[in-house]
């Protein structure tokens, strides 16, 4: 009911900027993947376009899954990317741009929230990763970092599943 007002304060919507940034970073990474530049360019462009259509074009029902094609397309891109510093920086940038788009996405009513504070921690993590890549160029360090993060995330996911009442959707349907 409150989510349908047209934006009033911005001629250029922040989410459009975030989408453009995502596409640019995706295309830049796509040029270097092993499947060739055509697939590399088409994959992020299609993913972002599909996400944008799901978000804006097909109504409220599909809005919640709008991020899925973007995450899938851009994530697949990183699997075939060469392991070098530019690719790592671009991959980190894509992840951050995705969060930037998410930060602009929940505000269809023309309100722009300064999400920079929410992006600080992920940005720092990417920065630390890039610095680690520069200073400690051995693949085992990454494996250790990845394994540690993986364990932490699995614990977090286990906590979420153990406390289903803390999921917003579950709380809406729970009897009062």
């Amino acid at each position: 009911m409150t989510d349908a007002a047209p934006p009033r304060h911005f001629a250029f919507r922040p989410e459009v900027g975030a989408l453009l940034l995502l596409t640019l970073l995706g295309v830049a990474l796509g040029f270097s993947i092993s499947l060739g530049p055509i697939v590399g360019v088409a994959l992020p462009a299609l993913g972002v376009a599909l996400g944008a259509v799901l978000h804006r074009g097909l109504g409220e029902r599909y809005r919640t899954v709008a991020a899925v094609p973007m995450v899938a397309a851009l994530g697949l891109l990183t699997l075939w990317a060469p392991v070098d510093l530019p690719s790592e920086v671009l991959a980190g940038g894509i992840g951050l741009a995705l969060l930037l788009w998410l930060a602009s996405e929940p505000y269809p009513r023309g309100r722009w929230v300064d999400a920079s504070a929410a992006l600080v921690i992920p940005m720092l993590a990417v920065l630390v990763g890039v610095l680690t890549s520069l200073l400690l160029p051995t693949s085992r360090n990454f494996l250790a970092v990845a394994a540690g993060l993986l364990v932490a995330e699995l614990l977090f996911a286990a906590y979420l599943y153990a406390h289903p009442s803390e999921l917003a959707g579950a709380a809406e349907t729970a009897p009062s």
């Binding site: 007002a5 851009l74 990183t78 929940p106 990454f142 996911a157």
Partner: protein, 435 residues
């Protein structure tokens, strides 16, 4: 307008949105892929996704947020314009608040709610329209706090009062000048407790700028040396009983509810106009049994009448007409002017009149017409619709003709105008004359 906020203690409840599952799932997937493929690139992509929920959690207010809603209604006629502000304690960024406004029937949304951050509050403007007069309470909005990434949210406790919205035909403001018939044995003995510019002399006091020259006591002024004015005890002009027929009719529940909404608005408008003129007004709501507010005056009486009107719904079962007439005698003296508001949509509803008259009540009927409800007026109407409306009007004319034999009847088809009722009440013969 608002009640002081009661402060819920404890920390704010945190609810994760489904987006968290997507991010954490995708991050974990690409993390695993990174380990399996021995490639650091997917891990760089996964890193922001995995850390985003932690960043979102850091934004969560440390204790339960309480939002105070201050709002008012500014529209007129069918337009309902609501403007207000939402302030929070503890203060949170207003842009992170997501209010959901649920407009009660019959309000229809004209424009989507406009929200604007006016630090430190969130200002909102709502635009609705009502197709017919109504009396309703707009409920407080449900408010959610959401983090900037849309990953976590927390319900916000809302304090304030529902917004009262009242729409009735503007002609009713002129009703106050109608002198009603008194039903007290000695007119002039029962006075209003209110003071005013006319009536029985009460006292003198220092003049105020709004006093008229007639109110100034010039002799007292000359003696004292400063302007002195007279105060008078205002006399009550008379008594009126409003009677709503909420029995189900053959029109069906939904249409009955629409007509009841119109009747409620009309009753409140009429009561307001007469109460402002210091008359005594009572209200009876007859469904299966009679619910009554005895005759009374003043702002409290208006509040009582409004409360009874708000609670009035179409009864599941209609009571017999004689029961109403018998019950009326328990609350109201015979001879009092009774305004029966009934759509007269069935034989049973018209039977009320002879019983009321037999018990000594002087009845005028205000009948909200069911025709606009049965065939809603549109911009383009087909020949069939025009014919249907014509037949319905003829049927209704026939029925009202029969009712006229019992009591003066006003057909209320244009819901936004009650000029025929005002004209009828201004005629002393119709309301029984002054004693």
């Amino acid at each position: 307008m608002t009640t002081p906020p009661s402060r819920p203690s404890g920390s704010a409840p945190l609810l994760w949105t489904r987006r968290v599952l997507l991010l954490v799932g995708a991050g974990a997937l690409f993390g695993v892929a990174s380990v399996l493929l021995r490639s650091s690139v997917p891990l760089f992509f996964a890193l922001p996704l995995l850390l985003a929920p932690i960043a979102a959690g850091l934004f969560l207010p440390r204790r339960q947020v309480v939002a105070q809603v201050e709002w008012q209604e500014r529209g007129s006629g069918p337009r309902v314009r609501i403007a207000g502000r939402i302030r929070t304690d503890p203060p949170v960024a207003p842009a992170l608040l997501y209010p959901t406004f649920r407009a009660p029937a019959p309000l229809r949304e004209r424009e989507a709610p406009a929200l604007e951050v006016v630090e430190p509050a969130l200002a909102f403007a709502l635009e609705y329209e009502t197709p017919f007069p109504c009396v309703l309470d707009f409920p407080l909005p449900e408010i959610m706090w959401r983090d900037p990434l849309g990953l976590a949210e927390s319900p916000v406790a809302t304090v304030g009062t529902p917004l009262a919205i009242e729409r009735y035909p503007p002609e009713l403001h002129r009703l106050g000048t109608v002198n009603l018939r008194r039903t007290t044995p000695l007119p002039g003995e029962i006075r209003s407790s209110a003071l005013g510019a006319a009536g029985e002399f009460f006292t003198v006091r220092g003049a105020i700028p709004t006093d008229t020259p007639r109110q100034i006591n010039w002799r007292a002024t000359a003696r004292v040396g400063s302007l002195i004015a007279n105060d008078y005890l205002i006399e009550r002009t008379g008594d009126l009983v409003l009677l709503l027929d909420t029995r189900p009719s053959e029109l069906g529940r939904q249409r009955d509810e629409q007509l009841l909404s119109v009747a409620r608005a009309g009753a409140l408008g009429i009561a307001t106009a007469f109460l402002q003129a210091k008359s005594r007004v009572g209200l009876g709501v007859f469904g299966e049994f009679l619910e009554a507010t005895p005759l009374g005056t003043g702002r409290r009486q208006r509040f009582r009448i409004r409360r009874l009107l708000r609670s009035a719904t179409i009864a599941p079962l209609g009571g017999p007409a004689e029961r109403l007439a018998v019950s009326m005698r328990q609350y109201y003296p015979p001879g009092v002017l009774t305004l029966l508001i009934s759509p007269l949509a069935g034989e049973e509803q018209t039977l009320l009149l002879p019983h009321l008259r037999r018990r000594g009540y002087n009845v005028i009927v205000l009948s909200p017409s069911p025709v606009p409800v049965l065939v809603p007026p549109g911009t383009t109407e087909s020949a069939e619709e025009l014919l249907a409306r014509r037949i319905l009007r003829l049927e209704r004319r026939d029925r009202l003709g029969e009712v006229w034999a019992e009591a003066p009847t006003v057909d209320w088809e244009d819901y936004w105008s009650l000029a025929p009722l005002v004209a009828l009440l201004r005629r002393p013969a119709a309301r029984g004359g002054n004693r």
